[in-house]
C-alpha cells in the first residue's frame, strides 16, 4: 500500500530545489558579467506552461528572498489573469509580500513592458522572454546564431534592417527591437515596445532576462550602454501617440492602449495600471526620462 505521508509533501521554498536554484544563480552571474550574452541553463519545468513566463519565474524564484516585495505585470497590468496567476504562485511558494506599487517593489517580473516609473538601484526587473535570439529572424539554426554571436558577425541582421527600409520605407520591427549591449552583443530586449527601449540604456536597475522554453538567460547590468540598431540616416524612433491622450487622466507622456468603447468610439488609456492609479489618485510620480518622446 501507498503510505499516506507520501502525498502530504510540502513544497520547497520558492518551489525549485536548492541545487537547481544555485545553478540558475551561477548562470545569472555569468549573464551579468557578459552583458547581452545568452547563457544556456537547465530550465526546470514549472507548473506554469512553457511560453507563459517560465523563464521569468526561474529567475524570480532563484533570486527571491523572504524579505522581498514582489510585483508582477503582464503587458503593463498588475491584474491581468496571467499576472494574477504568477503572483499567486510566487506568493504561495515564498510567502513574500506582494504589491502593485512600482516604488514599493524590490523585485518586479514583467511580461513585455518596463514600468513608466523610473526604477532604482534597489530594484531588480525580471523579463519574461519568448524568443531570446535576436538573429532568429535571419537565421533559423541555433547552431549558426551562436557562431554569429561568437564572431560578432551581425551582417545578416543589418542587411535585413536595410532590406526592410528598402521594401517598406522603415525598419518594421515593432516590439522586441534589437539593441547592441555594451558595444558587443546584439540582444532581443524581450518584446517590449520601442517606447521602453531607451529605458534600458544606462539604467540604475539590474535587468535580468529569462527565456524558459529556449533555455537561455541574459542580463543588462546597471549603467550599461544599450543602443538600438539604427542607421546614420534612418534613426531609431519610438511609437508616437500623436494627438491622443489618456481619456481618464489627460496624461500624454506614457505608453497608451487603444480602447474600443461600446458605442464603437475609440479612446486611449495609460497602459501601466499602477501609473494610471497613481495619477488618478494624485500620488506623485517619477517617470523615466525618455529623450525620444517628442
Amino acid at each position: 500500500m501507498i503510505e499516506n505521508t507520501k502525498y502530504a509533501r510540502r513544497y520547497h521554498f520558492a518551489f525549485i530545489d536548492e541545487s537547481t536554484k544555485k545553478e540558475i544563480r551561477r548562470k545569472l552571474l555569468k549573464a551579468v558579467a557578459i552583458p547581452g550574452y545568452q547563457v544556456p541553463y537547465s530550465s526546470p519545468e514549472m507548473p506554469i506552461a512553457r511560453g507563459w513566463g517560465t523563464g521569468g519565474l526561474h529567475v524570480t524564484l532563484a533570486i527571491i528572498g523572504r524579505g522581498d516585495v514582489f510585483k508582477i505585470i503582464d503587458q503593463g497590468s498588475d491584474a491581468s489573469v496571467n499576472a494574477c496567476n504568477l503572483r499567486d504562485f510566487v506568493h504561495r511558494m515564498t510567502d513574500c509580500k506582494t504589491t502593485y506599487d512600482t516604488k514599493e517593489a524590490t523585485l518586479i517580473q514583467t511580461r513585455h513592458r518596463i514600468t513608466e516609473e523610473e526604477l532604482t538601484e534597489q530594484q531588480i526587473m525580471v523579463f519574461q522572454v519568448p524568443q531570446p535570439e535576436p538573429l532568429r529572424g535571419v537565421e533559423r539554426y541555433e547552431f549558426k546564431t551562436r557562431q554569429m554571436h561568437g564572431e560578432a558577425d551581425y551582417a545578416k541582421m543589418w542587411v535585413s534592417l536595410y532590406e526592410s527600409i528598402v521594401r517598406h520605407g522603415d525598419i518594421m520591427l515593432g516590439a522586441g527591437y534589437p539593441v547592441k549591449v555594451n558595444g558587443r552583443y546584439i540582444m532581443a530586449p524581450s518584446p517590449i515596445p520601442r517606447w521602453d527601449v531607451p529605458n534600458l540604456h544606462q539604467a540604475k536597475t539590474l535587468y535580468l532576462f529569462g527565456a524558459g522554453r529556449e533555455k537561455r538567460l541574459y542580463a543588462v547590468p546597471p549603467f550599461t550602454t544599450v543602443e538600438p540598431l539604427e542607421f546614420e540616416d534612418v534613426k531609431f524612433r519610438i511609437e508616437q501617440f500623436k494627438d491622443v491622450y489618456c481619456y481618464k487622466t489627460h496624461y500624454t507622456r506614457a505608453f497608451l492602449d487603444e480602447l474600443y468603447l461600446d458605442d464603437g468610439s475609440r479612446e486611449h488609456v495609460i497602459n501601466d495600471s499602477n501609473f494610471l492609479d497613481k495619477i488618478e489618485q494624485g500620488i506623485p510620480i517619477t517617470p523615466f526620462s525618455n529623450p525620444y518622446i517628442l
Binding site: R9, N82, H112, R146, A175, L259
Partner: protein, 393 residues
C-alpha cells in the same frame, strides 16, 4: 466604458477553477479511484510517465484524474513536480538483457532466442467496439480471472530466465558494425543542462524518450514515407521490467526496484559512399518508460535518421526533430496565444498604419500622373505591406 483587462483577474481565475471542478463532477458518477486509473488506464499512465519523464504510476494516475484524462496536461504536471525534487543519483546503466520479458518480438527473424513472445498487445486483434464493456461488473472480472487462472498449469511454468538479444545474432555474424562513437559514452543530463547543437547522442535519446508520441510518429513516419531514406526493420521490440541500481555514497551498488520499459532496436542498412567498403547494418535505438511500442519504434527510426549526413529531410535534422517533438513545450507555447498581446500588437499596429500612410502618399503622387481609376485593390485601398517578421508574443 468598454472592456479593460485590468482589475478582477483573481476572481476570474477562481471561478474558472471552480468551473473545471464542476465539469469534472457534475454528472455525479462515482469518483474514479487512483488505483483504478493506475491499473485499468495502464497505457495512459505509461504515456504520462514517459512524456512527463518521471516513473511514478500513482502520481501519473492522480494527474490523469485531475486533468480529466488529458494526457498532455497530466504529463505537464509530472514534469513540474520533478522540479521540486533534488537529483540525488544517476542510476547505473540499465541492462535490458536482464529484462523480465513480457513481450518481445522480432520482424527481422522468424525464430529468435526464446521464441516470439507476443505478450499483451492489440496488434493482431480486430479493433471492434465492444459494447459489452458498458455492462461490465465485478462478477464478470472475477469470472474472467478464474477462467484465466484455471488454464494455467503451474507445474509446467518454466523457471524465470532472461533471453539473448537479436542483435547478438547479428553481431556474431559480423553484420552489425560497432558504432565506436565516443559520444555514446558521455552522459548529458537534459533536465539539468540546455541542449546545444550538435547534440550528443545521450541528449538526443533523452529528448526523444520524453518526446510526445504523436510528434515522434509524425516525423518517424515522414522518414519512412519518403522524406529521408530510413526504412528499418524491427530487429527486436521488448517490453518488460528491468532492475534499477544506484551507487550509494560508499560506492556500493544497490538495487532500488524495477521499472517497466519498452525497447526497440531498429535495423537498417547503411550504404557507404566509398566504393570499396561493403554496406552494413546499423541500429537505431529507442527506449521509453512503460509500454509504448509506437514511441520506441519511432525513436529508433529517428535516432538513425538524425545520424544521416544528409540533413535535407526534416527527420534527419536533429535540431528540427528534437525541438519540435517536445510536446510539453510546444503545447505551452501554442496555448500562450490565448494571452493578451495588446502592447506588442500596438507596436505592430503603429508600424503598419504608418506604412499604409506612406503607401497612400506614394499612390497619391503616382495617381497624379496616372488616372485615379486604377485602384490598387478591390476595396480601393492599396495593398498594405505586412511586416515580414511580426512582433513575437
Amino acid at each position: 466604458m468598454g472592456y479593460v483587462a485590468v482589475k478582477g483577474g483573481t476572481d476570474a481565475i477562481r471561478h474558472a477553477e471552480e468551473l473545471v471542478e464542476f465539469y469534472r463532477v457534475q454528472a455525479q458518477t462515482p469518483p474514479l479511484s487512483v488505483p483504478q486509473i493506475m491499473t485499468q488506464q495502464r497505457l495512459g499512465v505509461d504515456k504520462v510517465m514517459g512524456e512527463g519523464g518521471l516513473y511514478a504510476p500513482e502520481y501519473a494516475a492522480i494527474a490523469l484524474k485531475q486533468t480529466e484524462g488529458d494526457v498532455f496536461e497530466a504529463a505537464f504536471m509530472l514534469r513540474a513536480f520533478i522540479t521540486t525534487m533534488e537529483r540525488r543519483y544517476y542510476s547505473e546503466t540499465v541492462n535490458t538483457r536482464e529484462m523480465f520479458v513480457r513481450r518481445k518480438i522480432s520482424a527481422s527473424f522468424r525464430e529468435i532466442p526464446g521464441g516470439q513472445v507476443l505478450g499483451p498487445t492489440r496488434d493482431y486483434s480486430q479493433r471492434l467496439l465492444d459494447t459489452r464493456m458498458v455492462h461490465e461488473t465485478e462478477t464478470d472480472l472475477q469470472a474472467f480471472l478464474n477462467t484465466f487462472a484455471a488454464r494455467i498449469d503451474k507445474t509446467r511454468l518454466p523457471e524465470v530466465r532472461t533471453y539473448d538479444k537479436v542483435i547478438d545474432l547479428l553481431k556474431r555474424e559480423g553484420l552489425l558494425q560497432p558504432v565506436g562513437n565516443a559520444e555514446d559514452r558521455t552522459l548529458k543530463d537534459i533536465t539539468r543542462e540546455a541542449i546545444t547543437f550538435p547534440a550528443p547522442r545521450s541528449a538526443r535519446l533523452q529528448m526523444l524518450s520524453r518526446a510526445e508520441t504523436g510528434g515522434l510518429m509524425a516525423l518517424g513516419y515522414s522518414s519512412m514515407r519518403g522524406f529521408g531514406a530510413t526504412h528499418p526493420t524491427v530487429g527486436e521490440l521488448r517490453y518488460g521490467t528491468v532492475p534499477l541500481r544506484v551507487k550509494d555514497p560508499s560506492g556500493r551498488v544497490r538495487h532500488i526496484g524495477q521499472i517497466p520499459l519498452t525497447e526497440a532496436e531498429m535495423v537498417s542498412t547503411i550504404k557507404v559512399s566509398k566504393k570499396k567498403q561493403a554496406p552494413y547494418f546499423a541500429i537505431g535505438y529507442g527506449l521509453c518508460l512503460g509500454q509504448n511500442d509506437t514511441k520506441a519504434i519511432c525513436m529508433g527510426i529517428l535516432d538513425r535518421a538524425m545520424r544521416s549526413p544528409d540533413t535535407s529531410s526534416p527527420a534527419n535534422d536533429a535540431e528540427f526533430v528534437l525541438y519540435h517533438t517536445e510536446g510539453i513545450e510546444s503545447m505551452g507555447f501554442t496555448n500562450h496565444l490565448k494571452l493578451p498581446h495588446y502592447v506588442t500588437f500596438q507596436a505592430g499596429l503603429s508600424n503598419l498604419r504608418q506604412a499604409i500612410d506612406r503607401a497612400n502618399a506614394e499612390a497619391a503622387v503616382a495617381g497624379g500622373v496616372a488616372a485615379a481609376a486604377t485602384a490598387a485593390t478591390p476595396n480601393g485601398a492599396p495593398a498594405p505591406h505586412l511586416d515580414p517578421k511580426p512582433a513575437h508574443a
